[in-house]
Subunit: 530 residues, 2 copies
């Protein structure tokens, strides 16, 4: 979930590059094959062939989404599964917090203090599902998980940056309307400037381009931006004529970092609408898997040794001070790679070397219980407010409008140095920080907040990090190597996908491993060497 | 609901205007008062003072949202209400269709053929509530109407225009990513062109502007657009590296009318996120009002005479062939103005003259029952596909993903000439047209559709039109005159708001009339002349 935004260029870099760029080759474009689908390839669910009496045992390490996916598919095909989970709970980074839940953060253990009510929950881990994540949606569909729409983008939320507007929060609606107005004006002007629009623009293209610019910015008939009702009215507009708001000047808008980053957040492939989320909390997916599994997940089992064997794998683990060893035909290992590399093992040296280099994201989420849903009085239902402060975002519930209380996301910080700052605080300091910073967005914030939870994923027990971070060069050389089995051992999880931090990556990494097991079982049936 | 988009300029108009426009005064902007709210003024609900034993009778003509709002508030304050409704049903243009419902379209009567299931409903009238429509949301909150998020904008939906891409549907995700890429490129170039960016841009502004352009278009480090994963991948992207799609050339993109209109639809003040809609259908709001009312709505009562009297109003109506006359202190009249002007009356002449000039929108909606939710196989959950054909839009359900069947909106046409073409067809011809045109968006459309309903609002009994259409000049001279009482008679409804076609207009026009009654009652209490 890191690297949401490209690092912006400095001015020197920009100008140098622009000089080099020359005429707009990209504007000319290139005819080519235009895919009509954005569904990732190989998105069909894996369906394993039933074993038909063959005896196969699989050890699954970790009961997050990848482990649960594998267990579900394996059991359906007749494999015997053992699921070992190091922590006190099932779900991994699918963590929906409700009253009384234990938050096992090292150095900051908490009991969730929310009131006991169905709408008072907080998705401290995975929170949204994009519509093209067909793997996890396959399980929502087949296991009966009810979904609701989720939204990142709500025009009534705020953007706040101390560098602009004297630090006052500005409605995204107003900010975007004004930015579009000025940009539309510039585009309309560009249309008459040969320096910008190259061939092969014919008259009709140019005409359409100007129409685009006008519609984009809501320009008046002289192609000038003079404000728009898109920004909402300063007064009136329902039973009396509406009075437009004064546009903010473009230089002032540009002073806010919003335009260089967050304004484009909902364009990111996995953050664009439509997004969905299970009714009642993301852990509905975990519960749905558990309803199907016959093997109970064994909690508090910490793996201490992984030994590849000629025909399988032996796993040693500690449970309540006792050591146990289990053997199996296959081991599916969902433990974070940086922890695996510290466990006694006989995995290949290059495999271990890569695991050691694989980074982990740092991420802080804070959930706040509000006494009253004050955001609804500000016409906010769902969505995200953005601030340049450490809390980065405030999310408003997408669900259960009009209830007495609600849970806000009070911080979502994925920059490592920011998350480290939160990690260094006590829980009460984190809440105080979230409230103090949130007060720049909502003036009377403090008086509404009753209690809260904070989760610094880099310190959560048995995880010590959020999504895997693959350095670019390492990914080129090491991804396929880690993805391939080491003997009968498979490393899995969202860490072995191009979507670290997303359930889709977890599901599809499980499918990838299962497809390989299927291939090997087919070879074994024919007597060949797998 | 008409006039969604400004009429595009012709090329000749554009160039002439650009020549006149001169330097960009709007870019300089103007410091001013920046409202921090987009809540329309006077949005507080009207609370009438209890009558405390005084006897007041109010006749309410029409049981749509404005009539129900008025009845609810008046009853709470102790007024005696009589609600007369001309049609066979309550709700006006809030019309949620389910199996067996009678659609009283003149010349095209239908019984809704959908299967009997909770998720198989169609909002043939009002369908969405923007978050700043505080009037209707006030009643959702106080009357316990459960809301869900609704979305106009889903990147996985399609845009289709015969003029571009050989008429093939293109995912909005791909179209928008490419448009933004090329526009971002142009903006980055503009930044070095003094002809476009005027003073007072300082170095820092320019830097920020280039960062904006880069983030806007997802440009590479040379500020060139070479495709983006925002468009989805051509292949891979989850367990293997993703391969970017080839960008479509800008001239080809411009050939589609999408960029000049629909691409900006969700920027319209009332169409921008967050939008909401009641769970189970928009008529949940009507049902919620009815639960509160003690006076039953009298159906099949057609008003035939409206007579202002010195101390009140007398209304004559026909019910089952019999004529009845009722007198009341006040009459709140929600009948469409163009119908009122044809009813015998002694209203002031200028009042009637204005009513006669007030237009009515023409609007067709078609609902289609699909045997299977084929759109989910195309990664579509909620949102709107756009086509230049008469059907204009296809909507996918925002609710009840994964159910066996679903109701699509198969056409939503608000251009009068298009809606007239549908009105001239039989119901079966309308369905055949919707299916034939929809096939350009979804190749196997016909095989999925089982049955459907069609509603041409300009022919719906007792309405003969959709939202009021105020000619600009008429609105300036006539709006306040119609809004003011004529004696003790008040014209109401969304027709007397700046939001024709929206429930918010209906609620707020009722509040406007009630506030005036309140004022008069206060004067009467003091013995003054009201």
């Amino acid at each position: 979930m890191s690297n949401y935004f490209k690092a912006p260029l400095t001015r020197r870099q920009c100008l140098s590059l622009l000089a080099k760029a020359g005429s707009s080759s990209a504007v000319l474009g290139a005819a080519g094959i235009f895919g009509l689908t954005n569904t990732p390839v190989n998105a069909s669910p894996v369906t394993l062939k039933p074993l038909q009496g063959k005896n196969r045992k699989v050890l699954i390490l970790g009961a997050g989404i990848s482990g649960l996916t594998a267990a579900y598919e394996l059991e359906r095909a007749g494999y015997h599964c053992t699921i070992l989970e190091a922590s006190h709970r099932i779900g991994g980074r699918v963590l929906t917090l409700r009253r009384g839940d234990f938050i096992d953060e090292l150095g900051s253990p908490q009991i969730c203090p929310f009131d006991d009510a169905p709408n008072l929950y907080f998705n401290a881990g995975a929170a949204r599902i994009p519509a093209h994540h067909t793997g996890i949606l396959h399980y929502c569909r087949t296991l009966g998980v009810e979904l609701q729409l989720f939204s990142n983008h709500n025009k009534n939320c705020y953007t706040q940056d101390d560098a602009a507007f004297n630090g006052q929060p500005v409605r995204i609606r107003e900010y975007e309307a004004d930015m579009r107005g000025f940009i539309g004006e510039l585009l309309a002007k560009s249309a008459t400037s040969g320096a910008v629009l190259d061939q092969p623009f014919d008259e009709q293209d140019l005409d359409k381009f100007i129409q685009f610019a006008q519609a984009y910015g809501d320009l008046d008939s002289s192609l000038t931006y003079r404000g728009t009702d898109r920004a909402g009215y300063a007064a009136g507009g329902v039973t009396t004529a509406g009075i437009l708001k004064q546009p903010r000047p473009l230089p002032e808008l540009l002073r806010s970092d919003f335009c260089a980053g967050a304004m484009h957040f909902a364009e990111i492939a996995d953050q664009a609408p439509a997004l969905m989320t299970p009714s009642g909390g993301m852990d509905s997916i975990v519960k749905a898997f558990l309803r199907q599994l016959t093997t109970p997940v064994q909690l508090h089992c910490q793996v201490s040794n992984i030994q590849l064997q000629p025909q399988g794998v032996a796993i040693t683990y500690l449970k309540q001070g006792e050591s146990y060893t289990e053997q199996a035909d296959y081991c599916l290992n969902c433990i974070p790679a940086q922890l695996v590399s510290g466990i006694e093992n006989n995995l290949p040296a290059d495999y271990v070397t890569i695991m050691r280099q694989l980074g982990r994201g740092k991420l802080t989420k804070i959930g706040l219980q509000a006494k009253q849903r004050f955001w609804e009085q500000e016409d906010i239902y769902s969505g995200i407010s953005w601030t340049k402060q450490d809390i980065t975002q405030i999310w408003y519930p997408h669900h259960d409008a009009f209830k007495a209380k609600g849970i806000l996301l009070g911080a979502y910080s994925w920059e490592p140095q920011i998350s480290d700052r939160f990690a260094a605080m006590t829980h009460q300091q984190r809440l105080a920080t979230a409230i103090a910073q949130g007060t720049k967005v909502h003036a009377n914030y403090a008086q509404h907040i009753e209690n809260g939870v904070s989760v610094c994923w880099q310190r959560m027990n048995h995880m010590l990090g959020c999504g895997a971070v693959w350095p670019e060069e390492l990914q080129k050389t090491g991804f396929q190597l880690l993805q391939a089995p080491a003997g009968n051992h498979y490393l899995m999880g969202d860490q072995l996908s191009m979507h670290p931090g997303w359930q889709e990556g977890a599901v599809r990494s499980a499918w990838h491993a299962l497809a390989d097991i299927e291939r090997r079982e087919a070879l074994r049936s024919t007597g060949a060497q797998a």
